[in-house]
């Protein structure tokens, strides 16, 4: 099958229609247990609550950005979506079909979902040439070796690496940017519909990063892809993503269209995160850090709203009542008592500035 047919095939594979989200994530939960302390009845079962019951959707053809501090569960979420880690509970519904059902066995799901990692070097086999690395996936899924290599060469061309020069090279003979192009080509080799990009451009130099971002946009157009883009670089997320999801301590605190979210963030955490971005104007330097200290320990997260310990707008009620993740403004969901009717949050104390945001 030639690559030009790809888009057609993708439309053919579309099961639920354009309005059916590509992936629905429901109540996804993953705790990593720690070595238990004490004996017998005193024995405490401690666990890192990496991902604590998150719900979201990835729409067809969109780029969904995921942001948050390290340890907030971004990467665990990515690994759960890719099923590299098994969830404790929760389900994934890919284009209307539940993962693991007869309609969508894991093997078939993995073919349609691929991932590109941050470290371009450690994610390639050092003892395989790059054409073999790219062709490996398709051969596992039953494509003949000859055809798989042919496709690998097509893909190398698509990601801007001349096959005649690069196909036979080993990973160490390439620069970081070139290696990340190879990883992208490898992800495309199985003709996936969803690509998870976990900090895929973070390790690259700025000028190379720009080249790879351009490439990602071209490929998305050409192959009709959907991206989940995880990054700590908020500028890049704003530029690339259609919608943005903000995570804090294993929970989703806000989801909304990128422009609206960057312009007027609802959740106090999103507001602080955006204010932490360095300015590029030396005459308007940041005078005070928007957030003090580090995120709390995910082994024993704070009661009520998990952000209340660092939140500027916290009230007494925030320490005891956990907010519900709800639609506060059409198209934007947020988990904050401030926007929740009858939550017991004293709205009278909200500074005027924030009211206009809502």
């Amino acid at each position: 099958m030639s690559l030009s047919q790809q888009q057609l095939v993708n439309e053919f594979r579309d099961v639920g229609g354009a309005r059916q989200p590509l992936l629905i994530v429901r109540g996804l939960k993953k705790y990593f247990p720690l070595k238990s302390t004490g004996f017998g009845l005193r024995r405490e079962r401690l666990a890192v609550r990496a991902v604590d019951g998150i719900n979201f959707e990835i729409l067809k053809g969109e780029t969904l950005g995921v942001v948050g501090e390290s340890g907030c569960g971004k990467s665990t979420t990515a690994r759960l979506l890719m099923q590299l880690t098994e969830q404790d509970s929760g389900e994934l519904i890919f284009d209307g079909q539940a993962l693991g059902s007869r309609g969508l066995p894991l093997r078939e799901y993995r073919r349609q979902t691929q991932m590109v990692f941050q470290d371009s070097y450690s994610s390639l086999n050092p003892r395989m040439t790059i054409e073999d690395s790219i062709a490996f996936g398709p051969t596992v899924h039953g494509v003949s070796k000859r055809e798989a290599l042919e496709r690998a060469h097509d893909l190398l061309l698509r990601v801007g690496l001349e096959p005649a020069r690069f196909a036979g090279r080993y990973p160490h003979e390439l620069s970081g940017g070139q290696r990340q192009r190879v990883n992208i080509a490898r992800a495309l080799a199985l003709e996936p519909r969803l690509i998870i990009l976990d900090e895929s451009v973070s390790a690259l130099d700025k000028s190379v990063e720009a080249q790879v971002l351009n490439l990602l946009q071209d490929l998305k157009q050409a192959f009709g892809l959907t991206y989940l883009f995880i990054s700590h670089d908020l500028n890049v997320v704003h530029y690339l993503c259609d919608r943005v999801l903000v995570m804090y301590l294993g929970e989703v605190v806000e989801v909304g269209p990128a422009d609206a979210l960057f312009e007027a963030p609802l959740h106090p955490y999103t507001q602080a995160l955006l204010r932490s971005m360095p300015t590029t104007d030396p005459l308007q330097r940041t005078e005070e850090a928007p957030l003090a200290g580090d995120p709390p320990n995910p082994i024993n997260p704070p009661s009520g709203c998990r952000f209340h310990t660092r939140c500027q707008d916290a009230r007494a009620v925030c320490a005891s009542v956990a907010p519900i993740f709800h639609e506060a403004v059409p198209g934007r969901r947020v988990a904050c008592l401030k926007y929740q009717p009858d939550s017991g949050y004293e709205t009278a104390q909200i500074p005027l500035r924030e009211v206009t945001h809502g």
Binding site: D205, K206, N214, L273, S276, M277, L283, R285, E287
Partner: protein, 336 residues
């Protein structure tokens, strides 16, 4: 610049690494002065020589495989001519350094308190208790919560932001005049990064430290630096006051670098402006301007002789043959 009270003075500094079969010219004639209490940011992509220049200031490169050229003075002392003993006195006492990854830079088998008191007692004749009291003060200074308890913890027990604070405390243990920072916030989250940047700015103001700050993040540099120097292929291609360099850069490389980051440059749906090609191989540097091959303004002259350092404004210098032909435009305004 050219003032008598500069703490660091590099004149035509060259650093060459010898490897079997080849010589890597990592730094090729860097002129840089850092005044007392001044923060200078060295910006550039990987392989531009910014970290090599920084490490040369403490002579941290292995002596056997490194050849230095030019001159390098720190606080009036000639660092390149120093013997091992003098170097040991210089490091930590006059000039100290913080690194990108504190977990690798701190010793995992000693507590932070032990590491700081050891440093203090290595350089000053004080008792253990006195050194410990000073370590406690330092921890308070860099705002580590419950400092007394934290002195007895090991590096792995702390979070990334706290470790970076502890490393800053260690670097300041012997009250150095110069602090070198090698990508100190790259490994940190945005929310913690801004805390560390503000801390560095505060320390510089209160202790009168000179800081040389290496980063590839122009945003981080803009938050702390008084002056900026942009490096490419082992040379400083442009340097000047931060506000001038960020808004009216003259060198084509600086302009390309800033354009990709300037506000409004990342318009949704539009392609990003990129710099084509890759930096030159440092073992086979071109004879002319090292950036010529990737430069949109390059002419024949650029490929023959390296451009001289040209003064383009107060304290603002650039190395480019075609400065006159490239119009001065305000980047931040033209892209908005």
């Amino acid at each position: 610049m050219g003032e008598a009270n500069s703490t660091i003075r590099l004149r035509d500094l060259q650093v060459e690494f010898h490897q079997p079969g080849k010589r890597i010219q990592a730094v090729n004639g860097v002129d840089l002065e850092v005044g007392e209490g001044e923060v200078v940011a060295l910006i550039g992509e990987s392989g531009s020589g910014k970290s090599v220049t920084l490490r040369a200031m403490m002579r941290l490169h292995p002596d056997r495989a490194t050849r230095y050229g030019g001159s390098l003075e720190v606080a009036g002392q000639d660092v390149l001519g120093m013997g091992a003993k003098q170097l040991a006195l210089l490091r930590g006492k006059t000039i100290a350094m913080i690194f990108q990854e504190p977990l690798l830079a701190l010793d995992p088998v000693y507590t932070l308190g032990q590491q700081i008191t050891e440093t203090i007692r290595r350089h000053e004749p004080v008792s253990r208790a006195e050194a410990r009291a000073r370590a406690l003060q330092l921890f308070e200074r860099v705002r580590i919560p419950s400092p007394d308890r934290r002195l007895d913890t090991y590096p792995h027990e702390m979070s990334g932001g706290m470790r970076q604070r502890a490393m800053i405390a260690l670097a300041l243990a012997c009250r150095p005049q110069v602090l070198l920072a090698d990508e100190p916030t790259t490994a940190l989250d945005a929310t913690v990064q801004i805390q560390i940047l503000l801390l560095l700015r505060e320390l510089q103001r209160e202790l009168g430290l000179s800081i040389v700050f290496v980063t590839h993040d122009i945003g981080a540099a803009a938050e702390v630096a008084d002056r900026m120097a942009v490096m490419y292929a082992g040379r400083i291609v442009e340097q000047g006051p931060a506000a001038v360099l960020l808004t009216r850069p003259r060198h084509p490389y600086t302009r390309a670098l800033l354009k990709s980051r300037a506000e409004g440059a990342m318009q949704k749906g539009q392609r990003l402006e990129t710099i084509g090609g890759a930096p030159p191989d440092l073992s086979k540097l071109p004879t002319g301007c090292a950036f010529a091959e990737r430069c949109a303004h390059a002419a024949d002259a650029c490929r023959q002789t390296p451009p001289p350092n040209t003064r383009v404004g107060p304290g603002h210098e650039a190395r480019c043959w075609r400065l006159d032909e490239i119009a001065v435009t305000d980047i931040s305004r033209c892209t908005l």
